[in-house]
């Protein structure tokens, strides 16, 4: 758990942008999707905002419990006093469990030494594609240490000295784009006494996309930025988030922006300006950008400032993103815990940035998001991305994943949060349905990995697995817990682990504390194992002495069948409809049979009409789509409703893509080829007159 991977955790993939086209087309269509995707009330029996206020109050009194990861580390709550603890919240003056001084990041145990603070000056030399960096680095040892190992992005010149300029003994090695250097100290650092050294470096900027496709830096004429191309130091063996002050040098006619609080600028002797930023929170995610930025201002809960920086050309649109961000943050503050930072800056970058990046208290997004307006088809894409990045202010920043196997705590939760927001704000499950289908139809078995697998990064389908399936896995928890209990769990989790590291198992433990439900099986099935539900579903009507029952058989012909909660919707001739959540718990068997009592003979039975289950279903009585027990004309009518809905298209690279309007239902793909067409109608005709076997 000490591996220090290049932090791709908070990225939003270029894939996001790739999807935008489809989203735009979809949203531009004035036509409502057909009946299956017309939103039903969410959790009809537990309206999800009803009790949340009360639970929040309750939970904040109970937050004392903290799950010890079992490492033998002292209880972090009562751990060694942080020098800043005991200070009241500078804003309210009241001690608040979520306030900035409660930071400890002790979930991984106390390291031998930490980076406490970095004072960083950056000077971007665009013509030379170089970044010159000067850093004063404050180190605090907790044990006597005589060597420090640190990491920065690959530098061409590196000078490390004492503050007074006297040299230090340094050995540096370059490894895959990073420079790791070790300072050998003449005498060990004294525990709990801060020591500051100075670093001066020059890095040749290589702004080609890394990892999943975001540009680490950009040197275009309009926007210049450095994000993942690290200019600050991290400890190479441990996580060591730090507070920082950042000074960005820019031409006099440009404006520099960065996460943290902007604290003014001043003119330099050469006519350029230096812009100052204060990051009072400990974090090791950052970035900065330079352009002809103008700020549009908004207000967050607690009168905290929101700053949206766009180029002058986009200034008239910025109010849309201001309004959106205010709403999303208000919503997450209510659903999870209050927004924790002193403020938020949202910054526009070039389109080729590709997606979004959300370090603590700052969000970078690609250009066109800032041109979206609520009356255009592009808006839903802008909302989805913005809400995802804002979600990272909680998931990934307030609570950081402890290991690479816990990245779901950042990306899956941010994406789930975004889906939760759009489900209400846009009145549509389109985003989460797209996530389901993305995983179900784009991940070859050879690339599949468990969401919680260590090194899940290494799968070429990382985005589909962690962002898309991961979000679906959290969304499915609503079937198990109800939305309000899931939110109560997340609230408790964010409180317990605020400014700390957490594992997926920590979240499971919080769910147990909050709901009393042991979700071991769910974690095991969805985070530790790969794959999804594949089942044949058959239905028949049983009339016993006038008591009518819809009997369903769910048959999973796989080694280890999944346990899940299945929403079953039963429609009646009088236009009424009822939805029941049915537990499918195979306990090792392949087939599960469930009975649902009904008052009248239904006209159809539908499964999971809102895609709340990560599944592919097929008819167990082939062609009996409405689960009546007969393959008849009604099934033909059902098929007509689902006709089209998806197609396979060949990309330029020859690969086939699955393309759908999101009302795709694989149940109707009788002749399985990922499209519902005349071949399927023909297949249905072969089965007409079939009666379901007895079960």
């Amino acid at each position: 758990m000490n591996q220090h991977l290049p932090t791709l955790l908070l990225m939003c993939a270029a894939v996001t942008a790739q999807w935008l086209d489809a989203t735009a087309v979809c949203a531009a269509s004035p036509r409502k999707l057909f009946a299956d995707t017309v939103p039903l009330p969410t959790d009809p029996d537990t309206p999800w905002h009803a009790k949340i206020q009360a639970q929040r109050a309750e939970a904040s009194h109970q937050h004392a419990h903290r799950h010890d990861p079992g490492s033998g580390v002292a209880d972090p709550v009562s751990g060694v006093a942080d020098p800043v603890s005991g200070v009241a919240d500078p804003v309210s003056g009241v001690a608040d469990p979520l306030a900035w001084y409660s930071a400890n990041f002790a979930g991984l145990g106390k390291p031998k030494w930490e980076i406490i603070h970095q004072d960083i000056t950056v000077d971007l030399k665009v013509a030379a594609s170089e970044l010159k960096t000067e850093i004063d680095v404050k180190i605090r040892a907790h044990q006597p240490v005589d060597s420090l190992s640190l990491l920065t992005t690959g530098v061409s010149a590196l000078k490390v000295t004492q503050l007074d300029g006297s040299p230090l003994k340094v050995t540096a090695t370059n490894l895959s784009g990073y420079t790791q250097f070790t300072i050998d100290l003449a005498k060990p650092l004294t525990p709990e006494v801060d020591w500051v050294f100075h670093l001066s470096s020059t890095a040749k900027l290589a702004c080609n996309p890394q990892g999943i496709g975001l540009y680490p830096c950009g040197l275009g004429p309009t926007y210049q930025w450095v994000t993942f191309h690290r200019y600050y130091l991290t400890a190479s063996a441990v996580h060591s988030p730090f507070t920082s002050t950042l000074h960005v040098i820019a031409d006099a006619n440009k404006v520099a922006v960065a996460p943290g609080e902007p604290v003014g600028n001043e003119k330099l002797a050469d006519g350029r300006k230096v812009w100052h930023f204060n990051q009072i929170e400990r974090t090791d995610n950052a970035g900065f950008a330079i352009a002809d930025y103008v700020a549009a201002l908004g207000k967050l809960p607690g009168d905290k400032p929101l700053r949206v920086y766009t180029t002058a050309k986009y200034a008239s649109y910025a109010k849309n993103i201001v309004g959106l961000a205010e709403k999303v943050i208000a919503s997450f503050s209510k659903d999870f815990v209050p927004f924790a930072w002193p403020g938020l800056s949202i910054m526009q970058l070039e389109n080729n940035f590709g997606g979004g990046y959300a370090p603590l208290s700052g969000i970078f997004m690609y250009r066109d998001v800032f041109g979206a307006t609520p009356d255009t088809g592009y808006w839903s894409a802008a909302v989805e991305l913005t809400a995802h990045e804002i979600g990272h202010q909680w998931w990934g920043n307030l609570v950081e994943p402890a290991t690479s196997g816990d990245v779901a705590l950042s990306e899956s939760l941010a994406e789930f949060s975004s889906c939760l927001y759009t489900e209400t704000a846009l009145d549509s499950r389109a985003q989460i349905i797209r996530d389901h289908l993305s995983y179900l139809y784009q991940v070859p078995a050879s690339e599949d990995m468990a969401v919680g697998a260590q090194g899940v990064y290494s799968s070429p389908s990382y985005v589909e697995i962690v962002y898309h399936k991961g979000a679906a896995v959290f969304d499915m928890l609503r079937n198990e817990l109800g939305t309000d209990q899931l939110l109560a769990t997340l609230k408790q989790y964010a409180t317990t682990y605020n400014r700390d590291y957490a594992t997926l198992d920590d979240l499971r433990y919080e769910a147990l504390q909050v709901t009393g439900k042991d979700l071991n099986w769910y974690w095991d099935q969805w985070f530790e194992k790969k794959g999804h539900i594949k089942a044949d579903v058959a239905g028949r009507l049983v009339d016993k002495d006038g008591v009518i029952t819809v009997r369903l058989r769910v048959n999973q012909q796989v080694g280890k069948p999944f346990r899940f909660t299945l929403p079953v919707t039963i429609d009646f001739a009088d236009g009424k409809s009822k939805t029941e959540l049915v537990e499918i718990n195979p306990k090792g068997d392949t087939a599960v049979i469930v009975d649902i009592a009904v008052q009248a003979v239904p006209i159809r039975v539908r499964l999971d009409i809102q895609r709340r289950v990560l599944r592919k279903f097929a008819t167990g009585t082939p062609g009996d789509f409405n689960l009546s027990g007969f393959v008849d004309g009604a099934d033909l009518v059902e098929m007509a409703l689902r006709y089209g809905r998806a197609m396979r298209i060949k990309g330029k690279n020859g690969q086939e893509y699955f393309f759908t309007d999101l009302s795709w239902n694989e149940l109707y793909d009788l002749n399985p080829d990922n499209r519902i067409d005349m071949d399927d109608v023909g297949a249905l005709e072969q089965w007409v007159g079939t009666v379901a076997e007895e079960f």
């Binding site: 007969f630 033909l636 089209g644 005349m678 079939t690």
Partner: protein, 232 residues
């Protein structure tokens, strides 16, 4: 996978004789709705009206007792009507199911029921309500098959000629059109009803919304003196 009992009689095999003539002869009653209503309501089958919609012997005023077919005419829209006649020459009850008054109809289906002790189904054919084709962008697909004695599954639905995610299903408005034709021979004397099993009756718009319709029945009366199995 174990499959349930299949009804192993193909539709094609059932077409024991060409049905083209049914279309032309029954086309005569596809008159304006008002006429259909008037005639059906006003005429008692026993009067031997020549209006074949309500049933009569077409071979003239023979003294021999012949089976009669009495349909119901709709009194509301949309509707599903069972029209028919006794064709003495063919010695068959010939039936056409009409649908009318529909708006945005995507598909319609039901189990058609009849008394299998009294009637034997000898021919069945789906009809095309709008004579559409790939060139008009839409086509109807239909199905009809025995499910059990006296129970026939049937349905038609309108499909686009192409399958594409943004080519949405689209229904059609139908003033009056044919859905299905059937032919029966009589097996025994007495009255029996041809109708649609209530819980299976279904029509939907392209949005999926169910359409409530008036589903009518018809009665076949085979007189006691009728000679079963008489040669056509």
């Amino acid at each position: 996978m174990t499959l349930p009992n299949l009804v192993n009689v193909s539709t094609a095999a059932r077409l024991s004789r060409p049905l083209a003539w049914v279309l032309t002869s029954l086309m005569a009653v596809s008159c304006a709705d008002e006429v259909a209503v008037t005639s059906a309501v006003a005429v008692d089958a026993k009067t031997g009206s020549t209006d074949i919609a309500v049933g009569a012997a077409v071979d003239g005023a023979s003294a021999t007792a012949m089976p009669t077919f009495v349909g119901q005419a709709h009194s509301a829209e949309p509707y599903v009507e069972i029209a028919g006649l006794w064709n003495a020459e063919a010695q068959r009850v010939q039936v056409v199911v009409w649908i009318g008054g529909f708006t945005d109809l995507l598909g319609i289906a039901a189990h058609l029921t009849y008394d299998a002790d009294k009637l034997e189904l000898v021919a069945q054919q789906m009809l095309d309500p709008t004579q559409e084709s790939a060139s008009t962008g839409f086509l109807w697909r239909g199905l009809v098959k025995d499910l059990a004695p006296g129970r026939l599954v049937t349905g038609i639905a309108r499909f686009r000629a192409i399958s594409h995610p943004y080519a949405y299903p689209d229904g059609t408005d139908l003033a009056r059109a044919q859905w299905l034709s059937l032919e029966f021979v009589v097996k025994s004397t007495g009255k029996s009803t041809i109708g649609f099993d209530v819980p299976t009756r279904l029509a939907r718009k392209a949005t999926g919304e169910p359409i409530a319709a008036q589903w009518l029945t018809a009665e076949v009366d085979v007189p006691a003196t009728f000679v079963i199995g008489g040669a056509p």
